[in-house]
Structures are given as structure tokens and as C-alpha cells.
Amino acid sequence: MIFLAAAKFPPPEFSETGHQIPGFVAPAARAASLERLDVAVLVLALGLAAWLALRQRSRRGLVWLGIFSVLYFGFWRKGCICSIGSIQNIALALSDSSYALPVTVIAFGLLPLVVALFFGRVFCSAVCPHGALQDLVLLKPMKVPEWLEHGLRLLAYVYLGLAVIFAATGGGFIICQYDPFVTIFRLSGNTIMVVTGIVLLVLGVFIGRPYCRYLCPYGVLLGLASSVSKWRVQVTPSTCTQCRLCEQACPFTALNPAITAAPVRNVKTDKRRLAALVVLLPVLVATGLWLGGISGTALARKHRIINLAERVHLEESGAVTDTTDASNFFHASGTPPEELFAEARKIQHRYITAGRWAGIWIGLVIGLKLLSLAIRKERPDYEADQTRCVACARCYRYCPEELKRLGLTVPE
């Protein structure tokens, strides 16, 4: 619709000065060879990260690779193209066949996931510039209480649901819009996002990778893929001696302690709780479905057509007396408002449907999380949590067996 194409920043109205307004200049597309270079760098970095994290068990190597990723994918490529944001391109392409999905975006979206299926979240360790940047600033790790950790980690699932809704319905790419680190890589941007990025990094000095743990939607997918990975981070290179030295090694609460003796518990209560949570699961899914549906009508406001339709309706009904550039242009276009409303209603229905799916997703995630908290597992050794571990290789040096392997002195 032409009225939405009105210049965001209107040209000056000084025609009598004879000033020639320059025409639109579209920036040249990035050369295909450079795009291929980005993919090649990604592939190499992923391979190197897997080798360093799992085979070499080298924290130092990962730090250097992280610095490279921050410089290349962050400061040089300005945080774009980015695997985290590619979720949205893929969601949009799946819902809108007219949207052309570049091969580079597909590569950035899928390669880290494919690698995670085999080697875990090595992408997070030192290839993702967001993760690497946070990892580099982590100096004095502090523990987040376990109960809070479990809750906060769910935010990333909610964010993923919302990001997919907005991308698939044409409402915008919120992951990019609210990316806290892109402003740092670009050294400019929206004030609030600049401050958010800096706050997250300052916080990241004490709380390991706050964005990755509690917000990153791509981390959710990587975690799911990583949960079936064959090759994974193992704290000890040989046998766990239960020395507990690694117990607080992981700043990301991604190390599951050994549980050798069954904790004292009331079996009857546990069984009852489990049964109640099984029953609760469909209830939560249904609640999510309902909440997603009812919030869909308001979430739709983010779509520019809906926004304009609402504005035109408010002007028509006399609820507002002024007009906006977009509504003026719409009225001047001669398009009947009925058409705008009809299109807006169609989009609104899409939001309601997408909202329901997102609600089901969130309900399911919360239900399964509660169930997982009700099921006890016995673990003979300290081991990395497959979904949470970002393969940073910090824990290795805490293990005396690793020190022995390296021929280093084991402290008393």
C-alpha cells in the first residue's frame, strides 16, 4: 500500500531555493563472494570450536576464537548476519512464500543447529559474537539461586514464541529490533538498547552470559538440538573421583552434580505431585491457547497495516481529532477504508492463530519444566547439562584428572 511507503523522513520544503533533492540511492547488496566468505568463516569457526572444546579441551583456544568472532561477526560484520536473527527470516519464509530467503541466512540459521546435533552448543562457546562477548567480560562469576535460574531460563522460550509470531505475521523482527549488543558492535543506535547492552555486559561481569541464559531464543533451539548430541563436554577426561572441585566451576549453572544416594523423600507425595503435574500439562497448554488467542488481537498492533487501520478508525469515529502523515496519505490515496479494515482483519486473524500456537508452546514448555522438576534422576558423576552447557571449557581445569592428563601439578 502506497501510503505506507511515504518517506519516513520527509524532504525539506524549500523548493524556491532550487535545491536539488537527491534521488533514492539503494545501498549496493553485499557481494556474493563476501557472503560466501561469511559462511566459510562460520563453518571453519564451528569446526574449530568443536575441536577446541571437545578434542583439545582448550579454554585458551576458545578465548582466542571468541575474540576473533567478536571482531569478525561483531564489530566487522556489525552483528549482521546473525544466527539468532535468522530464526525470524526462516519463520517469515515459512509463512510467506513470496519472501525470498537468502542461502546465507539459511546457512547461518541451520549450520549451528546441525553442529549442535553432533557436538553440542559449540556455536555458543566462541562463534556467536553475542555469547563470546559476554563470555569475555565474565570476571567474577556469582551463582544465581537455583529456583530463580529455573524460572528465568523460561523467558527465552517465551521470547522465541513472540519472535516467531511477529516474524511470521509480518509484524517485524523483534530479535533484531531489541538486540542489545548490535548497538555496541555498531557503536551507535537506539539509546535504550545501548544502555541495555551496557547493563547486560556490566551484569555479565558477575552473572555469566545473562542474555544467552535468559533471553536468547536461538539458544533454546540449540539446547534442544544439543540434548541428543553424541559428542559432548565431559568434565573429567577419565574417572570422576567425586572431589567436588568442579561443583562451582560452571558460571552458567550448567553442571549437574552427581547424585549417588537417593535423597530422602516422601514417595507417596512425589507420586501424587507427578500425577497432578501430568494432569496440569494439558490444562497449561489449553490456558496458553486461550491466553495466546486473546492477546493476539493486541499483539497485532505491532503490524503497520493494523496500526494504520486502527488510526483511521479512530479518526473516523472522532476519538481523535488530529491526523498523521500515514493516515493523510491513506486518505489521499483514495483507497476505501473498508479495504484497509478488511486487510487488517485478515492480518489480525493471523495474529490470533499465531498467538494461539505461541500460547500452546509456552504452556507446553512450562508444563514439561514442572514435570522435569518432579522427576529425580540419579547421576553417578558430575556432568554437563546437555541443553545448558555452552562448551566454554572452564570446568576442565578444575578437574584433577584433567591436570594429570596435562602433566600439571595437582594442588593438594
Binding site: 529455573h150 555486559l201 486473546i294 488481537t297 478508525h313 493523510n328 489521499a332
Partner: protein, 544 residues
């Protein structure tokens, strides 16, 4: 020394931490607190613009808007500048903080002996944490529920597209409703007289189009693209509009092509025009903008000259450029009412100056196009290719026609070919009288073409055999037109030669316009509409 550095680092952490806290907090507070008035969202600007609509000639108001515009523009750029500087300052503070923190903070040394026995994990609390997140999400969803977008349920009034019958009765596009340049019901027997002539304010090579009592023309300069509406009876200029800006830079064109060579098209509801700078627009018959869009630069070595075609509810725009292998040539369809793009197909052809024409063949509407090396027919509804025939080369400018059962196409200065529609069959091929710019015309039995030297050639339609040739001693860009029993040839000097179509050359007379002319004439009943370099002419037959 080490202690001193540690103390400096600790002080640095404190100072930079405080700086980030205070400066970042202040910036956030400012950003969140007030919506800053910018040129884009200023209510005052919007109000003044609205006032200007009611008082378009109020110079004082205009001056006020300009002052406000300048002020807001300065403020916006100052603010952007400040934002960039503060971002850098904050990032600088962060770097200092991290450097100092690196010296100040060290991870704790693990000491399991001090930790005591492992405590079982507190799942009860974790469940509360999870439930808290669920409550937060539910609260957000309920808040959203309380502020829904409410839209009125109103039925869309649909506009019926123009019917084929209605379209055929007019002269709505370049060379008439089916692009043949043939008006069987016209009668333009000599003598003629000029009924009216009206100056056209802006130059252009486009031809007139007519719907009922309305004549449309286009014109352009490097500063503006314009559409004109004239009253066909009196010649009065009813309105003229300038396409909304910003105007793209004018492309490089030859003087013979100019900046407004494509002829507009109309469906009786709106007039649609495309200009070589890439702007396309539709206006209703009252001169109100229906839509406008920028198709992008229309690269073309002599200047874009292809006229759009219209089929029912869609505007069809042929954009040929470069070599066939370049993949630059394309055909696109816009929804006539809204300008929304419906489809686009790539064309395996070179750059051309021909105009596509809508024809009916085998009961199906087809969009006939030609450009080296192919004559290609498309389904105008969805752009699917129906058939193609080879045989064209060089820079194609004459448009094709469907005459009887034969498509006549021209490879300029090389050959005229007759193609059997729906096949790859070249029925005939002749090098006699090959035009370079003007299109052929047919009376159903014969086909008339005029070459750059001014030689008029009559070809037998079925075989392509030259029946006769005649040197007109003049040069022609306008395409020949048949009005009833008269073949009209309009020379570049502005002389209309009238010839009787037939198996031998017979000149009926001529009429001097007194003005140079490149556009093709439009016959309507007893009148002929001609665009000269300066004026639009209406000529009428005086014969009883």
C-alpha cells in the same frame, strides 16, 4: 606498586561503574520520559500541514511551516549527533570498567572443604520460580487482552473491472484497444479542418488516448512528470497533475525519445501512466491520485518508450533492457485500482521499445510482445507464457499487430515477419519496406509498413509478398493508422498523407498540420486527434 595498581583499578571500577549507572540512567530516563518532537511525529507540523490543505495559498503559513521544518530538522540532527557521542562515551566507560574489573575481580578458588555437605536441590522453590514466570506471561497476555485493536466490520465495495466490450468502443491505449491502429468505424474523408488546437504545457512523444469525451496525454521534463486531461469537444485543458515526488533522476534519453514517450492507458475509471524515470501512477477522472509507485530505473539505451497495456483489472508493464542473457527484461502486472504488484515474469529478450498489445486468439486473451529474439504471448491474468516464436533481431521498436490469423512483427531494418499465432511457424519473411520505429497496420487483406527513408510498402498479408511500394519523400516516426477507408501517414514534418488502402497506390490527398509531429494519430468517428511538438490538435472531416 602492585597494591597501588590494585587500588587504582578498584577506584576505576567504582568511578566507571558510577559513570555508567548515572549517565546510562539519565539517558534512559530522558528517552523513556518524554516523546521528543521530531519532524516525523511533530503534532504541530501535522496540524500546520492540515491547515495548509484548507489554505493552500497562505504564504505566511508556508513560511511558518518552513521555519518549523528547519528548526525540527536541526534539532533532530543535533539529537542524533548527541546520541552517537553519548553511545561512544558509555561504551568508553564500559571499556574502562572492564579493564579495571579485570584487575580487581578474580574468580573464587574452589574449596570443597569450606562448602560443607551438598544440599539437596530446592525443587519446591524452583516450581515457584516457574509458576512466577507463567503468572508473568499470563499477566502480560491479560493486559494485552484489555487493550485489543477493535476494527469496524464493514463490507468492501468491490469495483467491477472494465468489460472487454466497453474497452473496445474507446481508444484507450497506444494504437487503440487491441493495438492495431485500425478504426473501422471512423470516416476521415478530406477535406479536413482544425477544430481546435491546445498548447500542451510539457513536451512528450506519447500519443493521445481517448475515453468518451476525454483526451489524455503525458509530458515530462527532468523536473516533473505530468498527465493532462483535455475536453475532446472544446480542447480545454480540464486538469493537469504532476506525479508525486520525490522524482527520480531523469534518465539519459535521445531527443527523438524524450522523457515521456510511453502512451498512457485508461479504463474509464482512471488513467495510468509510466515514465522513463521509473515513476508510474494512476489518477481518477477528477485528477485525484489513486496510487503512484517507483518501478526503479528503467535502463534503456535510447530511453524507455514502451506503453503499458491494460487487461480488465490489471495494468501490464513491459520493461525490456540489456541482452537476453542479462535477465534484466521483465513483464509485470499491477492491480489497476491499487497499484499492488500481482506478478512479475522474467523475459528472455533484449532491450526493446515495442509496446505490448492485448489480442484475442482462439477465444483466449493474450498479451502479445516482441523483442529480439522472440515474439512471445503471455496470459495477461497470471503471466504464464503461452507461446513464443523466434525470428527477431536488433533493437525492436515497432509494436506487433494481430491481423486476421497472422501476427506481424518487425525486426527493424532487417525484416518483417508473419507468424502463425500459437506456434513457432514463421509464415513469411520479407526484407521489403522494413520500418525502424513505426508499427505496421493492416486492412485485413494487406499490411502497410513504412521504412526510415519514407518508402511505403504494401504487403500481401497472407504471403508477405510486396504488392507495391511508393516513395513518400518524407520521414515518419508515427505509426500508420487506418480510419475507415483511409490510410493516414503522419510525417515528422507534420504532413498527413491520406492513401486509399488497396492493391495499388492511390493518394487521396494531404493535410499540413504546420507543426512537427512524432506521435501516432488517433481517429474517432469523423475526428482525428494529433499531438504535435507543441499542441494537441483536433481535426475534423468536412466531407458530407
Amino acid at each position: 606498586m602492585k597494591n597501588f595498581l590494585d587500588q587504582i583499578a578498584r577506584a576505576g571500577v567504582l568511578a566507571s561503574g558510577l559513570f555508567i549507572l548515572l549517565f546510562g540512567g539519565l539517558l534512559t530516563f530522558t528517552a523513556v520520559r518524554g516523546k521528543v518532537s521530531t519532524l516525523v511525529n511533530s503534532k504541530q507540523v501535522v496540524r500546520l500541514h492540515n491547515e495548509l490543505r484548507t489554505r493552500p495559498k497562505d504564504e505566511e503559513l508556508k513560511q511558518h511551516i518552513r521555519q518549523l521544518d528547519l528548526q525540527l530538522r536541526r534539532e533532530t540532527f543535533d539529537r542524533l549527533n548527541l546520541s552517537h557521542q553519548t553511545t561512544r562515551a558509555l561504551i568508553g566507560g564500559l571499556v574502562v570498567f572492564l579493564l579495571c574489573a579485570h584487575r580487581t575481580f578474580r574468580p573464587n578458588t574452589p574449596n570443597p572443604l569450606a562448602w560443607g555437605a551438598r544440599q539437596p536441590e530446592k525443587y519446591q522453590l524452583a516450581r515457584y520460580g516457574v509458576a512466577g514466570i507463567f503468572a508473568l506471561v499470563a499477566f502480560g497476555a491479560l493486559l494485552a487482552f484489555l487493550t485489543p485493536v477493535r476494527l469496524p466490520e464493514r463490507e468492501v465495495v468491490t469495483e467491477l473491472p472494465v468489460s472487454d466490450e466497453e474497452f473496445r468502443l474507446q481508444w484507450p491505449s497506444f494504437r487503440g484497444p487491441n493495438g492495431t491502429g485500425h478504426a473501422a468505424d471512423a470516416n476521415l474523408t478530406l477535406p479536413w479542418r482544425v477544430v481546435w488546437k491546445t498548447p500542451v504545457p510539457t513536451p512528450g512523444m506519447s500519443s493521445p488516448i481517448i475515453w468518451s469525451n476525454t483526451v489524455f496525454l503525458t509530458g515530462a521534463t527532468d523536473k516533473e512528470d505530468r498527465i493532462f486531461k483535455f475536453d475532446a469537444t472544446t480542447g480545454a485543458l480540464t486538469w493537469s497533475v504532476t506525479l508525486p515526488g520525490p522524482k527520480p533522476p531523469a534518465p539519459k534519453v535521445t531527443d527523438d525519445t524524450g522523457l515521456a514517450a510511453p502512451t498512457p492507458v485508461t479504463d474509464g475509471r482512471r488513467v495510468y501512466a509510466v515514465f522513463p524515470d521509473g515513476l508510474a501512477a494512476a489518477y481518477d477522472f477528477n485528477g485525484k491520485l489513486a496510487w503512484s509507485k517507483n518501478l526503479g530505473p528503467l535502463e534503456n539505451s535510447y530511453g524507455y518508450a514502451t506503453s503499458p497495456a491494460l487487461y480488465r483489472d490489471r495494468l501490464l508493464i513491459q520493461i525490456d533492457a540489456g541482452d537476453p542473457a542479462d535477465g534484466q527484461s521483465r513483464l509485470l502486472a499491477l492491480e489497476a485500482r491499487t497499484g499492488r504488484q500481482l506478478w512479475e515474469v522474467k523475459r528472455p529478450v533484449a532491450g526493446s521499445w515495442t509496446s505490448p498489445v492485448i489480442v484475442e486468439w482462439n477465444g483466449q486473451a493474450q498479451l502479445l510482445t516482441c523483442s529480439a529474439p522472440f515474439v512471445i504471448a503471455y496470459n495477461p491474468l497470471d503471466g504464464t507464457e503461452l507461446w513464443r516464436a523466434p525470428g527477431l533481431e536488433s533493437d525492436c521498436a515497432p509494436s506487433p499487430i494481430l491481423a486476421g490469423n497472422i501476427v506481424v512483427a518487425v525486426a527493424p531494418n532487417t525484416a518483417v515477419i508473419g507468424v502463425q499465432p500459437g506456434t513457432t511457424n514463421i509464415l513469411w519473411h520479407t526484407t521489403d519496406g522494413v520500418p525502424d520505429a513505426s508499427s505496421p497496420v493492416s486492412d485485413g487483406q494487406r499490411c502497410y509498413v513504412i521504412d526510415p527513408s519514407g518508402t511505403l510498402t504494401c504487403l500481401q498479408l497472407a504471403t508477405g509478398k510486396a504488392l507495391w511500394t511508393h516513395d513518400m519523400n518524407d520521414t515518419f516516426y508515427a505509426s500508420p493508422t487506418i480510419a475507415g477507408r483511409t490510410l493516414i501517414l503522419l510525417s515528422r514534418k507534420g504532413v498527413a498523407y491520406l492513401v486509399e488502402p488497396g492493391d495499388s497506390y492511390r493518394e487521396l490527398g494531404k493535410f499540413e498540420l504546420g507543426e512537427k509531429c512524432n506521435a501516432s494519430p488517433v481517429p474517432r468517428n469523423r475526428r482525428l486527434f494529433v499531438r504535435g511538438h507543441q499542441n494537441l490538435f483536433c481535426i475534423e472531416s468536412q466531407a458530407k
